[in-house]
Subunit: 382 residues, 3 copies
């Protein structure tokens, strides 16, 4: 890992993790742990530990459990069980040295820490991100007439974002239809008709293209920052439809409205960077990716993400879900990757130290404070 | 080139080249050699030697002909002629230190070594891969009624895969229609109708979308591993339609059936890696690419291919065709590229030596043994 | 920056910048300068200086104004004003050490140097590139009947390319429709019908798909090299439609006719490289990109662009517009990036010094001389 003043500043900086999920609160057996270790599934005869993220866990998480670096998976899991979920979560969440977490509470197939619990375990603040598909699906589940759907969804979304601690909304449109949508705001009649079809089949997973568009436009009306899943995810994604440049027409139509934060992005980080460079309100992160590729490749991915991205436009997130290891690893890969690439540029005199330190502060903390209007920023913004 | 224990292990390991073709058995004049050196054509006034693969041949192949490194093209070709094709092939095939070759016998515009000849010249074993488009086109050429085509193709494919030494089938659907196909299995009536159109124009190149889908589903029925050309190839490809994530729906529909091996993949190696990470039965290689980019860039391409790929999912292939130089260069670029990136991670303590050596063994040999059930694996699989 | 014989040769070599624009001749205030610094717009609260290209300007351009490296933006701009546009342009254009500029004169929202002025300021030669969309739009603005449009455009284009100093034509089809066009030459009746629609709405921006196709085919008839914008640009582009492999069918249909030069290409430089490797008359550059990513990443982008590209197929361009800083930075990033990657290969003995020096000469100068038949080449082509 790069040493030097940038690495030191990054080590000392309390990050903002602008997009993550809770950590599982129950103890996990091997199958349970391995299922959370991969974006795929756990397959017979192939351990998810035999992957870049598995190596990174054994290398960087084992020492926090009091084990040698590169401990075998079995040893790691035994020690993890011995310590218990609460202690394990506490250790990793504290090790992340993250001052604030913005927690997407809309995806939780397991029992996971609520934002307040996460904050408590981490010794940090936590804010909430409302997943709009969840709001819409709850409206359908609660019973609504097709012609009342748009209003009911809008009301429910407004109620959700007005709760204390909510700082943003999120959409997984990339999963549901991909970004190759008609960019125009759908008419009320179109929405009613689409709601009729959806409700007739009992609601559930919201994947109607008209309703997904309507959801994105409702996000614009809410006026809150909108996090958008882009690129890398589980097998439910169609990766080529999650290229964020497919959203360009919609970004033109909504220019001057809400901040749009492109999450993950890999392998489209350059495409996302292009959007950040030309649209005032577009931001990106390479969360999820960084712990999956591990510290060995985090710098390479960040270097692509930063090729043309204005320094006010890159944010840090872990997108950790389930394993508190990932809250830690996401932060660690981000710190090591960024320190490595900045130090190299310092050494080549392509960058001055004050510029490097400012970039670190912005990307690691202040850009998120500014977009989400979190305490601490933008006052100490300089 | 990286030295150290990983490079040593790679040097000592007899690879499995899970996808290649034969070497030309006739002596080649300059025009003939240059035509095989490029995926394009040989153009007036531009020597294919003036390219990354040309440099790699002059650097890494010249010494095996007893010439200095970086010998000029003319000198190289003269010496090659002097030695004769049989001796040249023998030298390069032996230098590849490859224990087993899986040979696609379905593409041979030149006279090339049959698998047994390749094995003999290399001092190795050879297995056969059956190209399904060739089987289908032979069925058409042999004369068949449209409503008998599906059965005749299936029978011919079964006969082909039952021959001794056949370990897999292959499709070049990427060339014929691209991967943006309707993923569903076509109905018998659809197949008959499509066969009627195809046979009416005299058969030949199979590029009807219904028949290509039918071919892919027939591969599922055969139960053998299916190699799929993806990405990089000659000018006959439409590269953007060879992005393997376009196959995602089909991979969902066929989940739990046959292994699918994505060949070449460049420049979509990250997209292919995503599929490997989320689908149990998807594998990838960066064959063809490695010798075309040469050892100077092989590590960079491999690093992208390995960013999130489970270590059981990457295989080695040369995809060498025609020039035995490529069987050698593919192996050499693979060894050097992989050694370089692993050594860097060892040096950074991101990887332990036992893990590195295991990864080398798996990727270089045992993953292929396992998928194709070749002798030697998975017994010594650990 | 890499030292050594390759860097020295590159420093001494007078480049050909085969695609650029003029430099602004008026003095620029901060807002004016910042607007030219970014492919986006200047946004409130976010300085375009806080970006990779902003760092590169402060690092590499400040010394040419007599300022310390990494001078703050305010200091830089004050000094720039003090010197005045003419002196600033002269300094940067001379620093580029470029012997010949091919200037696209069809885009000039500001008052910029005409080719002769640019040549004078730089102490170089300048040639002209005719933007065909501008020719077509002028024909419409001048008044033409729909059924006379094709002939009038053709005549105007012929007149434009016959002017002294014109060496090529250019199209921004990537901006207007993207490359996913029907590749076939449109019929006269189709062109007339499309012209009727276009002229009925008063002409202006040419973005009718039939007329864009007609423009590309007219370029073929003109017989001059055709520069095509590909990939990276401002927010008016739809990046995913500017992937040059979408043009493959058209390249097949026009094979053996005019040279096609793919400009910029990022993030599709590998896709462009594929086209260069398989089509005789396709060339590429990574202009615009190199100064936006800066010298810190220029080598990485060039390394991807060169992975499989024949050495006769890569050209240098700055694509500088407006700021003479970019004519300089484009050349500097090209020199540093190329020197770095070649030196690394020399050090690894993957490349011989004579081969490296030849590659430098070709890519930096002779490939452009050859394609555009500029004086100096191909006589000293060896």
């Amino acid at each position: 890992m790069a040493a030097g003043p940038v690495a030191e500043r990054l080590a000392a900086l309390e990050l903002v993790d602008h997009h993550c999920h809770g950590a599982v609160t129950d103890d996990l057996d091997r199958a349970g742990f391995e299922a959370l270790l991969t974006e795929g599934e756990a397959w017979p005869g192939v351990s998810p530990f035999d992957s870049p993220v598995g190596l990174a866990v054994r290398r960087h998480c084992a020492p926090l459990l009091g084990l040698p670096r590169h401990s075998p998976a079995g040893v790691y899991l035994a020690r993890r069980s011995e310590l218990g979920a609460a202690e394990v979560n506490r250790r990793f969440l504290r090790a992340a040295r993250t001052g604030a977490f913005c927690v997407d509470t809309g995806y939780a197939p397991h029992r996971v820490t609520a934002p307040a619990e996460l904050a408590e375990a981490a010794g940090a603040r936590a804010y909430e991100v409302v997943r709009l598909e969840g709001v819409a699906e709850a409206v359908a589940a609660g019973g609504v007439e097709p012609d009342a759907y748009a209003r009911a969804f809008r009301t429910a979304a407004w109620e959700a974002v007005r709760r204390p601690g909510v700082v943003a909304v999120k959409s997984v449109a990339a999963y549901r239809t991909g970004f190759g949508l008609d960019p125009a705001r759908p008419s009320p009649a179109e929405v009613t008709e689409a709601a009729r079809r959806w409700l007739a089949r009992g609601g559930g997973r919201l994947d109607d293209p008209v309703l997904v568009r309507h959801l994105l436009w409702t996000a614009v009306d809410l006026g809150r920052p909108l996090q958008l899943h882009a690129g890398f995810g589980d097998s439910d994604i169609r990766l080529h439809r999650a290229d964020p440049t497919l959203l360009t027409d919609w970004l033109h139509l909504t220019a001057g409205t809400i901040p749009v934060l492109l999450l993950h992005c890999w392998p489209y980080q350059r495409q996302a960077a292009y959007l950040c460079a030309v649209f005032e309100r577009v931001y990106l992160d390479v969360g999820l990716t960084l712990h999956h590729v591990g510290p060995a490749r985090a710098g390479a991915v960040l270097a692509e993400a930063l090729e043309i991205t204005p320094f006010r436009k890159l944010l840090h997130s872990s997108d950790a879900y389930g394993l508190a290891e990932f809250h830690h690893l996401g932060a660690l890969a981000f710190r090591q990757g960024l320190a490595g690439l900045l130090q190299e540029r310092l050494d080549a005199d392509e960058l001055s130290l004050p510029d490097a330190l400012r970039l670190v502060r912005w990307v690691g903390r202040d850009n998120a404070r500014r977009v989400y209007r979190l305490p601490g920023g933008p006052a100490d913004d300089g």
